[in-house]
Amino acid sequence: MSAYAMAVAGSEPFLERAPLLLRDAFVQLLPAPTQWLVHHLITIVAILAVFGLFFAFTTIAERKLLGRLQNRRGPNRTGVPQFSILPWRFKHTLFGLSQPFADAVKALTKEDIVPAAADKLLHFLAPVLVVAFSLLTFAVLPFGRNLIPVELDSALLYFFAAGSATELTIFMAGWASRNKYSLLAAMRALAQVISYELPLMLSVVPVVLVAGSLSTREIALAQGGWTFGIIPHWNVFTPWGFAGFLLFLVAALAESNRSPFDLPEAESELVAGHLTEYSGFKYALFFMAEYFGLTALSGLGITIFLGGWQAPVPFLGFVPSYAWFMLKLVGMIGFFIWVRGTLLRLRIDQLTRLAWQFIVPLALINLLNAAFWSLTRDWTGALQLVRWVISAAIVVGPFVLLGRKLNAGRAPRTYRYATS
């Protein structure tokens, strides 16, 4: 709570403190016995509102970004609704930015279809639980220097515990739909989570090792400072951190069922996978949970590899920390969209093989690498360079070797031609 006390004491710029001051000002208006409850409620409402809106705009951003990647424009028609009761007509399409609200109205007004043979209870519970679980993970993310909803000592553990439960709901959805495609999707979701839970955690463990803490706040704080006043001390700018970040990205893509690991939903194979029998608002809930999960994982990635809420360069330190966090979040999600716009989907056996034959060994090696890094913390000068080289060699060598083995026998081919 020292950070909080510091913030309230006013040793930080006003913008940095503004959200807390706003909350406290509101809380103090209420009678004392309810204050603790309102205090937490405000946090919850703030997360819901901010990330709800963020989700809404992520959907449109994804569609527009994908559109641009594909040389289209994306949705650009939905603007200000035209109510005839208004005396004037404000006609602007707002670049289609109100598309998510139109989508929401559509999803809410659509008929909710439940298959006759479905397991009605589970079919209903799945979308509810998936949103719940995906929202739980937001509790431990440090959105700013002082903005951390719950400070937990074992925050990372909590994060993974809450996050892994979402796959369970995908299974529930797939199994309860009584649809063969959904069932296959449920199996795939289980296989995927069994394969990728481990690499995801293993890719994070080096950071825990080096930072010496499971707390997200501590990890973010540990990445403060700059070398030569320009290179931030983010974990991603170390050899093991970079490798860990890449592994984390792959595992996060798999964990959040994004392309190229969108196997449960594989629309070209399983129609819509576990979502085949969902419509209307239940479908929207799944959609929402998927984006929440993506946002949370991106947030985690930012916290543990990209310096959390820290500013990238010292002279931009005046920008409030939560703005940096959001900026990085937008960047991460943009990257995920970019990947989705480029790559094709793996097959389920290749997916598991990638996890067990490539990512898990590499993550284990990277753990060793991090151990080496933290043991050689006091190497300076020329030794610093040696440390870098050794550390880089520890990951690059196995990467090349394992990569070669993984892709053995496969290469672009040359072809012969017949002229007659």
Binding site: R72, L184, M187, R410
Partner: protein
Amino acid sequence: MSPAAPTQAPAPFGAPSGPTVRTVTDAFHGDLLEVSMGPQHPSTHGVFRMDVTLDGEVIVKLKPVFGYLHRNHEKIAENTSYLASMPYTDRLDYLCSMSTNWAYALAVEKLAGQAVPDRAQYLRIILAELTRIVNHACLVGFLFNDLGTSFTPLLYAFREREKIIDLFEALSGSRMMCNYQRFGGCRIDPSPEWLAAASRLVDNFPRFLDEYERMLTGNEILLARTQGVGRLKAANAINAGITGPVLRAAGVNYDLRKVDAYGFYSRFDFRVPLGEHGDTYDRYMMRILEMRESVKILQQAFRDLPTGPIMDPKAKIRGFRPKAGEAYGRLESPKGELGFYLLSDGTPNPYRYRVRPPSLINLTLLEEMCLGHTVADAVVILGSIDIVLGEVDR
């Protein structure tokens, strides 16, 4: 020996291509999953259906089911005049109406013994090769969609296809249902501006192909998903009548443009790319390489295009009645050997009109290619065969 009971088991029913396959009898297997993929499935390229039996995700049995788009095209054609069937041939393979038109015109010209002026022959080759590019670009795009991209390669391909389709529209009046070829020539003479625009487009096309290949051909996921998947052995492919790029991917050098040298193809210098493994990757690469060869043909055609009439002056548009007889005309459509068998009894309507659809016959070995692979692979194998349901079901 009775023909009904061949004692010696013939070769074509070859071994499946995947790793391990359980033998499935028709008896009930409790742990097998029967999935009817289609007719409303995103990746069956229309209203095609595969009744798939799965062991986990591995296919142990696959039965293609046809006919959802059947409209008895042949019967309709037998009840109308020769010319009135021409627009219907557009609807067979609706992605490549120009070459389908040509195949029909070729068969009718063979039936009636009609000549085609030089300029029309060149125009036909130009349009057929543009169609080949359109088809292959579409196919590759759709194949990548089946492979799970979020439409990006498809839309890049469609962007380029759009430019060619615009040319078709400017020339024939319609983007896809061109109805352009006539018995003894072509319908409309392209303007010099059209030819210049087409030539410019063709010259720019390799740039697009380069970018496309840079984006995808070396992609590790593509290699993993396609190499070694859905292998086809040359001997079985020949026996099953598989033609076109699918056959050539298996290493058989059989391209009707070279074999029959119909039209003026013998005047052109081009090569036929041949695969080695006959897997999905080879089939994909065949399309890319054929597009490159098509560009070469087109450049030669634009260079050498003669002037002159586009219609045989002796050709009859109204009251066309070929002499009694029969003819089978075939050409290398982008999907394979497209043939028209016509039987005339001297009346204005064909007595027998038959389409030899490459899409349908290329599906003959679909089950054997898919056995032992997963559902995801089946979708990709089907995509790499390149079918159009308008032609499969007719």
